[in-house]
Point group: C3
Chain length 623, copies 3
């Protein structure tokens, strides 16, 4: 049975209301609620004075309606007394300014004091609820890294960073050599001379910058493992953490290894793009190659944008169905009831401020009824996109074009193109194998995993690679002679490269297309043939797209139009035609209409019509 529910905060409402809330939950089809993740000051009112009676009572009421709970550890919000007692837990920014309490996430992951406080409070939660059968899962902390809290520059971090570097490099000589500190006279003679990349007049060393991002991500991971170890020791319930949309500051691939299942919070960050939400679903599924949970589903209006727009209940229903179609085993709406006080007072919920039901609640109940026992087979392996979280960090250091955003400009256009051709998309990470996919795309992977590169040499499907791929080594330095394997695969050597302010025209097939952000001047080796040339710009007349065997290389950043033509010419068969989205499993297909109007889609000669926001499962005609 799939999980449907909401975030519920019994501490926000009078005890007398709980029974009514639980009854409404049951009525709406809820079978699980998340509780507890901001409850520290409720459970431990004064230092050491731990009392779970409020949560106990609430869980009892909730469970009386057959609803189980996901228990959150409350470490995201250390209470005021804790911060006043230990102000050293606060983060410090790049400028050297302390970031104060007052909202949430106000702690440094490398604070030894905070780690001890974390152990103490998490142990208390696990001792109390570790064996409670009503607790069906644990969520450690809440949205690690939210509000740009991943990277801290405090002295605790400086000390921890040096230890991290010692482990990574062993000797200073090795570090100096790998980082190229001889440039600008930055050679270290003592580990204590190494500082975080705090504010300086010009660019810090790019190797240090990448390592600091790795260290920061690893610090979150290390902090998480503290909690994981306590929870796993004291409870048999599975452990998760709620990941975030479009979030690239933490290496989620590594983090996913430290949870039993991935969950994530499905919010629309800017202008709504259904494919961007779908991309995030596919990414989350790919992290553990497994089914996942939507821990927080946006119900409608949020409170944290400049303009907090409305979304109709039907769209929320679509979002829930879309999650399931992409591999979720459940969805919890954030939040059960709108809260009139606190910093999220304009965030919508299933219930109104006054506790009355809303159109959203009705739409939720209908959706749950429909999906309760929805079982969709595992999605077929079709197309794959390569992602390495470290490349997001490399992309934020020195580069050819500071306006290029790897996720938005590099990955999303390729994802959209593949989906428009009717293919499922999996994401592959360093260490993964491309085998079994029809084709693999590698969008601007500045650094390319050597093992993955080797696997590509043997891969039998088509390969599409875009500019800047394999440009950097492990230390964020430009690759030199050791790039032969990449040259063997692609047939190219890059002799020059540059950022471009405006797109350049490319002659390709029967038409003209454009490339953007960067361009490269290629030298082709034997067996590599030119498919398209630049019609303007500094590399006018030079190849824009080349092909060696099954491997296609684009020496610029493409848009959807260009990729469509490239796929066509490369013989990628269109599996669907139309504006609906399609996902395929071994036994059937799911068709999705993310739009508020009727659309159609042509698959294998059959036309399927979809009403606004409709999601339907069909048996394919011919596969």
């Amino acid at each position: 049975m799939n999980w449907f529910g909401a975030a519920y905060y019994p501490e926000h409402w009078p005890r007398e209301r709980w029974k009514e809330d639980a009854r409404m939950m049951a009525y709406l089809g809820i079978n699980v609620v998340r509780i507890g993740e901001f409850s520290w000051s409720v459970v431990e009112k004064s230092p050491g004075d731990i009392d779970f009676s409020l949560l106990d009572e609430a869980i009892e009421v909730i469970y009386s309606e057959g609803i189980r709970v996901i228990m959150g550890t409350p470490t995201c919000t250390p209470p005021p007394w804790l911060v006043k007692r230990y102000p050293e837990i606060l983060q410090v920014d790049r400028d050297g300014l302390t970031i104060n309490a007052g909202s949430r996430r106000h702690y440094c992951f490398n604070s030894q004091v905070y780690r001890e406080e974390t152990i103490r409070i998490v142990k208390a939660y696990v001792e109390h609820y570790g064996r409670d059968p009503r607790v069906i899962a644990w969520q450690a902390d809440n949205e690690y890294g939210c509000h740009n809290s991943t990277v801290c520059y405090c002295e605790n971090c400086a000390i921890a960073f040096r230890e991290w570097l010692k482990k990574r490099y062993g000797t200073l000589d090795r570090l100096n050599q790998r980082w190229g500190t001889v440039f600008w006279s930055q050679v270290y003679r003592d580990w204590d001379e190494i500082d975080p990349p705090r504010r300086s007049l010009s660019s810090p060393n790019p190797s240090l910058m990448l390592d600091y991002r790795r260290f920061s991500s690893d610090s979150v991971l290390e902090y998480h493992i503290l909690q994981r170890d306590i929870i796993k020791k004291g409870s048999r319930a599975p452990l998760t953490h709620n990941f975030m949309v479009n979030f690239t500051e933490i290496d989620y691939k590594k983090m996913a290894e430290k949870v039993d299942f991935v969950s994530w919070d499905n919010y629309v960050m800017t202008d709504y793009d259904p494919d961007l939400q779908a991309l995030n679903h596919d990414l989350m599924r790919s992290l553990k190659k497994s089914s996942f949970l939507v821990m927080e589903q946006q119900p409608g209006r949020v409170n944290w944008r400049v303009v907090n727009e409305a979304y109709p209940p039907e769209q929320m229903a679509f979002w829930i169905k879309q999650s399931m179609a992409h591999g979720a085993f459940g969805s919890l709406v954030f939040r059960f009831r709108q809260l009139p006080f606190g910093a999220e007072q304009f965030h919508s919920g299933l219930l109104n401020y006054d506790g009355s039901t809303t159109e959203r609640a009705k739409a939720f109940a209908e959706t749950v009824k429909e999906l309760r026992n929805w079982k969709i087979d595992r999605l077929k392996k079709e197309a794959a996109i390569y992602i390495d979280y470290e490349n997001f960090w490399i992309g934020e250091t020195d580069n050819l074009n500071g306006n290029f955003n790897l996720l938005q400009d590099g990955i999303l256009p390729l994802y959209k193109t593949i989906r428009s051709f009717g293919y499922n998309v999996d994401f592959l990470f360093p260490g993964d194998s491309p085998s079994g996919y029809s084709f693999v795309c590698i969008p601007s992977a500045f650094k390319l995993d050597p093992e993955f590169l080797e696997a590509l040499q043997e891969f039998e499907g088509k390969i599409f690679i875009t500019a800047m791929t394999s440009q950097k080594d492990e230390n964020n330095n430009v690759r030199l002679q050791d790039n032969d394997s990449f040259k063997r695969l692609t047939g190219i050597r890059i002799i020059d490269a540059a950022g471009i302010k405006n797109p350049v025209r490319i002659s390709f097939g029967k038409d003209e297309y454009i490339g953007g952000f960067v361009i490269e001047a290629l030298e082709l080796t034997d067996g590599c043939e030119e498919m398209a040339v630049y019609l303007e710009g500094p590399f006018k007349g030079k190849p824009a797209i080349v092909k060696k065997g099954r491997c296609y290389y684009l020496s610029t950043v493409g848009d959807i139009e260009l990729f469509k033509e490239l796929f066509e010419l490369a013989g990628i068969k269109r599996m669907a035609n139309g504006s609906a989205r399609v996902l395929r499993t071994e036994s059937n297909m799911v068709l999705l209409n993310p739009f508020p109007y009727n659309i159609r889609i042509l698959i294998d000669g059959v036309v399927h019509n979809l009403r606004e926001y409709e999601v339907k499962v069909v048996l394919p005609q011919r596969i």
Copy 2:
């Protein structure tokens, strides 16, 4: 006799020049000058070494021409020696950075040391000039809050804030409950845990934010009262303080209670809008429901904008006449003479840098001659707009649309519409009564005073209310069940609301109009009827304007076109037609042309022609 004059700084000019200046003042028609408000380092060259001889002599010279003075206390500019001795008086910003001396207003209102220094120096001024008949008024300090100096985050403020909170809430339990600190685990167990809303990762508690703004405004008030008490004890001359244009950081309604008359500084802040200046005049008059003074009248170019534009002398003449028409009993130009040194060296004055007269001086003299004995009756009560200063602060915390500015987007369009219909405007505040007005407008009053709301139930005129009104309670929380009185008045219940990025079309009357910023989904109760509906957007088809009895509710933010149509359909009679402005008293009318070209206006069937910048008093034909 009305007051006409200028700001004069004898300390800036050689003693030998004073006589000449005084003669020119008299020649121009000046009967009062403001002096002294930046004179601390002149009067007290070294700590304790107080010497008024320069001011004494200057006043003697000025008075020899029959001119009196408004004496400013010099606390706006503590001298260098004071700051070096007591650096703890400096403000600290949200990031924790000290704001240094070097310009002006460099002190924290809650600094105990600075309060003592203030008492010392103000006492000295009052002891010296308290009984001087040549001093006809006092100005305490200068432009409280200017340069964003109202809100400080230093430790002095933290301590004072906690005391303020203790007085307001009595117990921490009460505060925790009112603020909803249970959200995000912010429950306080000790008053000392409460800090100013210093920089944090995400939004602080909105109740704390509102209270910090109240506390900051109250701190200014408390500081002002220190000075007031000394001045009132030592002098019979009336006390004022110069308020600022478009300024909403201090609760001027409360501040007005602590001065004998309101004065304000009439500057054009951005692109010139004559109605915006008029709005400020009406607001200043409404604060004490009494005549006011323009303490600083911009003469032409200022020095503090990015592009410091010129304005012709005729426009300055208009500004002075406009002030008087709106209820001023005088106007002082800032400044008498352009100063070649110091931070305002590009600010224009009546005299040129070299002491010669200017076209501005001539225009001033002519205007003064015309207005010297101008007595305009009290303006008639016609239309009113509700303002609560706290709503400006609420509007800057969490909200549906962060681009909405209450003054500019909420109040100004309504004001302009009313004025274009030919009505006088008064502003009403919490505690005021609407009685006696033809109609009352309540533009987006997030929080609505319960007493005022009750008074509206009995009010016999028409009422126009726009979106978001009465949405919040006293603690900046979203209102729940206790909003029945508002529901009774308007006939509506708000079931959903959202920000909108782009305006939405509304079908209203025979035409289409637009609403902006936010929209609300209304549920209508008995007796409430729909007047207009949304043609697009998330609440398409739902009511945009409704009417219950004499009360009209607009569930979005309107523009002038929409309000004009609403007034027409509501039967608000046009009292004037044309682009001139009109103000009515019991006995006559003032017609104003704020433009550099001739215009006309039709009133009661009579056409009045006005030359460029003309202001004239006429007897109405039929009233």
Copy 3:
């Protein structure tokens, strides 16, 4: 023989490679390389442990190919151990935040500790290389002021500033009087009360601001002289420092006096404008009225812009030729070889990352061959533009239009106009004489040197002056009665002035033109005649251009179209027609085509055709 070369960093590459590098240098025609300027941590690995063996060996290898070196002192990049030992050397910004090490230039010019360290390390370099004949020149430090490092606000600077002020003013009374500290009660009674213009609520005193900029520039100069004295004492090789493009934070005129020859770094900062590069060349030549060196020539793509664009090798070749035509005696490309690590890893070089040659290297070799013995006579004195570095600083304090940039908006349009008429341009500075030039332009010289003004009275050529000239005195105060000399020259008195947001139309000659940024209202004295009037704006109908004898005054900021018409009407003869650039010496002319297409130019009735990027020396037909 001219100098051609590159920046070379032997410490970046394996010793085994040096021989090959030197051979390639020789092959490309290089006869000089700059080394050492970032070598501190290579030479002094630990405090006191000084070892020049790496540089010795590298110089030996380089010199074996007949190549000499320019030795840079390494003070631009204090090594990590030094910063950790003496953190007090770091700069502090206006907000009070420390600017950390991590990139370069991380030291305060007024740090006594750093000055001592500087003396120590520079002495070591000079003792070692002072008599080495292979060292043909010294470069002190590297790009003083780069990355906005000229102005620091630390306590060291505060103390040094007070000493600087004591020397300048002698007594506090004098300082108080000159600065006009009586404004806003800023009168100082003790030198220690004077602080740098750190962050305050509003504008600091403009006299203090100008003096702080002077002091900051002087501090750099004082620091430089420390190094100069050591180098000149220990070596007979000439000393230089590499100046920067468009850089106005340091008074380069004063700095030029402290070097034996000027060198500068020729980079394209924003969108390429060949005239802006030419202006910089002419400025550098004018500083010492002497030939100069391009110490760093951009080879193609740089790494420090948001979008790092490509430039073709032919354009680099043009840049080198353009330098020589404007008076350079050599050009060193930055850098010899692209570096795969460190903060400039995307900066291009003559060699590729892997040490292979590039098209840039080929173009360089061809250019060097062509120019090796190119001797162009001294450029003829034709037209001159007045510059005072202090005016750039005045332009950044209080002003009429904060959008006006003196270099870009005031000087460049005049420069471009003069060049389009076919004239050479020299820059003149305070103390220089206009004599010998056909005409002199004075674009918005807020402060005008009294001696230069006197010389202009006698000058026989034409004079073109634009708005705001002579508006300010030595203390950045608005000038009063003492401006008679300027009035005598121009025939005007400025009675009002203002910034303008949008350009205003001017009736001039047979057509309409526009003026921008500011306008002035002029009063004309005898002998001054009106040439053009404003068609709109606050001073409509008033004179826009006036003429007294040979002196033309424009009361606004002109663009190229306006200046062309003004020159025509003033009888400035066109010496060339067409889009090529021309430079004249006593014996010949250099024609330059900065464009990637063929152009032509008509000179003295003869048409000259130039291929893309061509630079050629021709004998003039008739002169």
